[in-house]
């Protein structure tokens, strides 16, 4: 375990300023009542570390909602390629919860597997992730179902814990150590006894809250095991979908707020001076997602609805050693206009309390 540091809560602005002096700093900034979004820090920012989850997840720092791939100049029969990718610069992503931190590794399996997505990769390499342990998990949280420990987030470069008075800081990767070095004047060494106890107490308290959450006993047994591929058709043709899909409006909200949804579209835009080709988030919930010139393999909302959850609970795990493409962040529970969500799906397949 590497050394623990701390800084008093009052002085967090100094910490932000010090990081900002070297790299762009993105952190949760208040965007409405009980709402925050990851934004670039400035000394005017209304930083919001007490709201649990940002509306959109932290994935947009690595996989932006929209990004340029290339541009073209077209004249007569000729086309010229014009390099036009959005620049990626070193940045620090601060205040990432355990669920979002886990989502990065899920996205990595997609974007960093051969052939590597170089756009994603350069952002991943440029980003230093500072996680923030949860103190007050909410009723919609079920990260524990996926083995995620909200009190001690894995998958980042630095772990932090925020008590009423202090922010505790522990580097857990080389990138994290480098960032810590930059902050030597700002961070002070934590006390081996009192401070360790403060962090342990926070963890313990969080774990107790987690254990009492309404979804604490949500189980994925039905979707577990290494025979997912064999079972795939059973799940696909299960009668449960007939009821589940009915309320879904196909609005795509769940896919846009989801930290692990990765579907994208590639489109062209005529700027008047040339054609910009960009990619943007897309949703398997949309009716034209799979539409072709001569037909559409998924014509009903049932099929589209089923696709989203089959992917998260069956297809992705079948391809990724049993790991699910959901981190239990609860965003889709909070945001779906008709209160349909992955928890209802898991429950319909027997995932309720025993």
């Amino acid at each position: 375990m590497s050394k623990m540091y701390k800084i008093s809560k009052e002085r967090l602005d100094e910490l932000y300023a010090a990081v900002s002096a070297v790299k762009s700093l993105y952190l949760p900034v208040r965007s409405g009542e009980n709402q925050s979004e990851f934004k670039k820090w400035s000394d005017q920012s209304d930083v919001c570390l007490d709201s649990l989850n940002t509306v959109k997840s932290a994935k947009e720092l690595f996989f932006p909602q929209s990004e340029n791939l290339i541009s073209f100049k077209v004249s007569g029969k000729d086309i010229e390629l014009v390099e036009d990718r959005d620049p990626s610069e070193p940045f620090v992503l601060f205040g990432v919860r355990a669920c979002d931190a886990k989502s990065f590794s899920i996205l990595d399996s997609v974007f960093l597997s051969d052939p590597v997505d170089t756009f994603y990769k350069s952002r991943r390499e440029n980003g230093t992730v500072v996680t923030l342990a949860c103190r007050a998990p909410e009723e919609t949280c079920f990260c524990g179902t996926f083995g995620i420990d909200a009190s001690d987030p894995a998958g980042g470069d630095v772990k932090t814990w925020l008590t009423d008075t202090e922010l505790y800081w522990e580097a857990v990767s080389e990138k994290g150590e480098e960032l810590t070095k930059l902050l030597t004047g700002i961070l002070s060494e934590a006390d081996a006894d009192a401070d360790t106890k403060a962090v342990d107490d926070l963890k313990k308290n969080t774990k107790e809250i987690l254990a009492r959450l309404p979804l604490a006993d949500l189980k994925l047994d039905y979707f577990s095991g290494d025979r997912l591929n064999e079972k795939l058709n059973d799940v696909f043709y299960a009668p449960q979908w007939q009821e589940l899909y009915k309320s879904c409006l196909g609005c795509g909200t769940c896919t846009f707020v989801c930290p692990t949804c990765q579907c994208y579209d590639i489109r062209d835009f005529d700027t008047g001076h040339g054609i910009k080709r960009f990619r943007c988030w897309d949703s398997c919930m949309y009716s034209d997602f799979t539409k072709m010139a001569h037909g559409n393999p998924r014509t009903s909302q049932l099929e589209r609805f089923r696709q989203r959850f089959m992917h998260k609970l069956v297809y992705y795990p079948a391809n990724n050693g049993g790991e699910y493409s959901c981190v239990g962040c609860g965003r889709c529970l909070a945001k779906c206009p008709v209160s349909m969500n992955i928890v209802k799906v898991i429950k319909a397949f027997g995932g309720e309390k025993a």
């Binding site: 791939l69 010229e80 998924r298 391809n319």
Partner: protein, 275 residues
Amino acid sequence: MNNDVLIPQIGIVTDIRTDTPDVKTFRVNAPKGGKCFEHMPGQCAMLSMPGVGEAMFSITSSPTNREFMEFSIKRCGGFTEWLHQIEVGQAVTIRGPYGHAFPVDTALKGRDLLFIAGGIGLAPLRSVIDYCLARRSDYGKIDIVYGSRSADDLVDIDEIRNVWMNAENVDVHLTIDRPQEGWEGHVGFVPAYVKELNFDTDKTALLCGPPIMIKFTLASLQEMGYDKTQVYTTMELRMKCGVGKCGRCNIGSKYVCKDGPVFRCDQLDELPNEY
């Protein structure tokens, strides 16, 4: 493969052949001549015109063609409409190759081959057929069954008559859906014709065409005693990235762009019926 898989290169359309009322074959070269990239039979490429559209097409020419790539493309809306009105010299963008090829150098080697194509389904198979003919001694007897709506809809009939029909140990069986003046060959649908021809079952079949034709022909083959493991086919779904990341062509735990488009028919049974 290009370092940035989503970034295309430029290709120049150096020849356009009108094959049928709705199929044209486009020859594509790199701007400096030669091919834009190498491929294997059955693989696809993403062609596009910025601002117009981008779509995936199977590469019709064989990799043994050292000079250019060809794409036989049916006019069916969107980007293909644009392609059908361009002239020689037009630049397009191209990226690829994508997907798994037919196992020409492994499972198909040394085998008697039965090619069955319906309509534009000949496009991906032509690449394999020409590959096998270029390496004739690597394969056994070759039978080609090719059916289309009418005699006018047979794609590149010149190559079929002048090259394939004269090739060593190759039998070509053409059929059209309805009788037509001047047509002396077989009349009838491919699935029935295949059964009529009653091939022995010691062959490997490669089957491409519209989904409905694939379905019935596969049934014919099975009735004749073929096992699904002896039959290869290709699948078509909408694609965007071509590399298994955008989610578009996901079916079951497979991505058609990456794990396909070529599948052995027994592998298709593991996939939900969503194609």
